[in-house]
């Protein structure tokens, strides 16, 4: 037990070091790359060509294989960023601040993907591109938070205070987002007789569920890959003049 704990602890301490992370992740990236894209194409092709047509929605429902994974990733990335913000504020681990910086644009783009694919899906099925439903509104607010985080980050010259400020904002936003979603829910149920349910999760057939799960899984792997690459790029930017980086790049190591 003690042994496991000390291993985790040493891993955590190593994770905080830029050189170690840079070298470690360079071994990791090819594996993730080889793993991620085939699974992604498997899920998408299975979903688009081989899964059965939906009885009520027809062929248009197939956008689910982009929409649901993107929406799921968008939320998870934000809460991962909030946890990283907590880690940064409490333990001042500089890798956590870098994580937030690297993930914010990725999360924002997946939120935009979820919103656009949702609108394209909503037009033929609900007859409208947009509806002020709790899910849609909270996703839009999520996008706003991502954009504010990116904006706040870029306004600082000093990376250290930028990390601190963004960590605080991300944590406050993470507390705020469920409240927004809940309050839109209450407001909606009182204003409108019935909100449109996207689909009830239990009613989905297995033939549709498996490719969907594969798609969700592959999106997480891809986000992991993109995150690693963005973090490495940012490390390279911050440590450009450090000797370890020069040695590594120029091959003197």
């Amino acid at each position: 037990m003690n042994n496991i704990f000390s291993t985790v602890k040493s891993f955590y301490h190593k994770l905080g070091s830029f050189p170690w992370f840079y070298k470690f992740s360079s071994k990791f990236i090819p594996i993730v790359f080889i793993l991620g894209f085939p699974i992604f194409f498997l899920g998408i092709i299975w979903g688009i060509y081989f899964s059965p047509t939906d009885v009520t929605q027809g062929e248009i429902y197939r956008i689910i294989y982009l929409h649901v994974p993107a929406a799921s990733v968008a939320q998870t990335v934000y809460f991962a960023m909030a946890i990283a913000g907590f880690v940064y504020v409490v333990w001042k681990m500089k890798m956590a601040g870098l994580f937030i910086y690297a993930m914010a644009p990725i999360g924002a783009s997946f939120t935009i993907l979820a919103l656009i694919s949702g609108a394209i899906w909503g037009q033929p099925t609900w007859g409208t591109w947009w509806i002020w439903d709790a899910r849609l509104t909270s996703t839009l607010v999520l996008l706003l938070f991502y954009l504010v985080i990116i904006g706040l980050y870029s306004s600082f010259d000093n990376k250290k205070s930028a990390d601190q400020a963004v960590s605080i904002l991300t944590m406050v936003g993470a507390i705020n987002l469920p409240i927004i979603k809940k309050s839109v829910d209450w407001w909606n149920t009182l204003h409108q007789p019935a909100t449109i349910k996207v689909f009830s999760e239990s009613s989905i057939a297995n033939e549709m569920l498996y490719p969907l799960l594969i798609c969700i899984f592959s999106f997480y792997i891809l986000v992991f890959l993109f995150g690693l690459m963005a973090m490495r790029a940012e490390i390279a930017k911050r440590e450009l003049n450090k000797s370890w980086f020069k040695n590594l790049v120029l091959g003197n190591d």
Partner: protein
Amino acid sequence: MNFIKTFFSREILVYSKKSSNIISPIVFFLICITFFPLAVSNDPSQLSRFAPGIIWICILLSGMLSVQTIFKEDFDDGSLDLFYAKDFSILQIVLIKIIVNWLFSALPLIILSSSMVFLLYFPISNLLNLLSSLLIGTIIISFFGALAGALSLGKNSILASAIMLPLSLPVLILGSSASTYSSENIGFFLLLLLSLLFLTIPIISLACMGAIRLHYE
């Protein structure tokens, strides 16, 4: 205790020296309110239906004005540096500043918004709900505004409002709902607002302290 008293009276003095601190939110609020009948519709029945939303939006937007002023002057002239260096309690400073800022920028608007009964044909039966929801909601907005101001010290003013407005969304939703309903649902939304207030005060005070500290690291 002595420090709290001194600091409180200092803040009151600073705010009352500048008449723009009171005047500009009021002017902005009235202009915003005037826009709605001119742009949307001057039909009394429609206006009275939209009145809670209009009032809340205008309150939120005029809250945006005071966001920058709350810590900016003390940050620019270096008094905040002194407070920080002299080991004064940042928490007390933050809380007093928020209270005084609320007294000068939000309280006049709350009083003024009772005149919306005439201007926007706000139903008089809901007036008590509107005022009580404004009373709770503006405090929450002031806290979010203080956080936004503290995070964006020395930055441009758009950023502070961009931080504050998305954070204040639940207040807008709950507050305007509380003032829409006259009888049965009023307790529900007001209690939610109140619980949001009690959630906000400790979390945002802590976040504000952290946000001020980061400028001195």
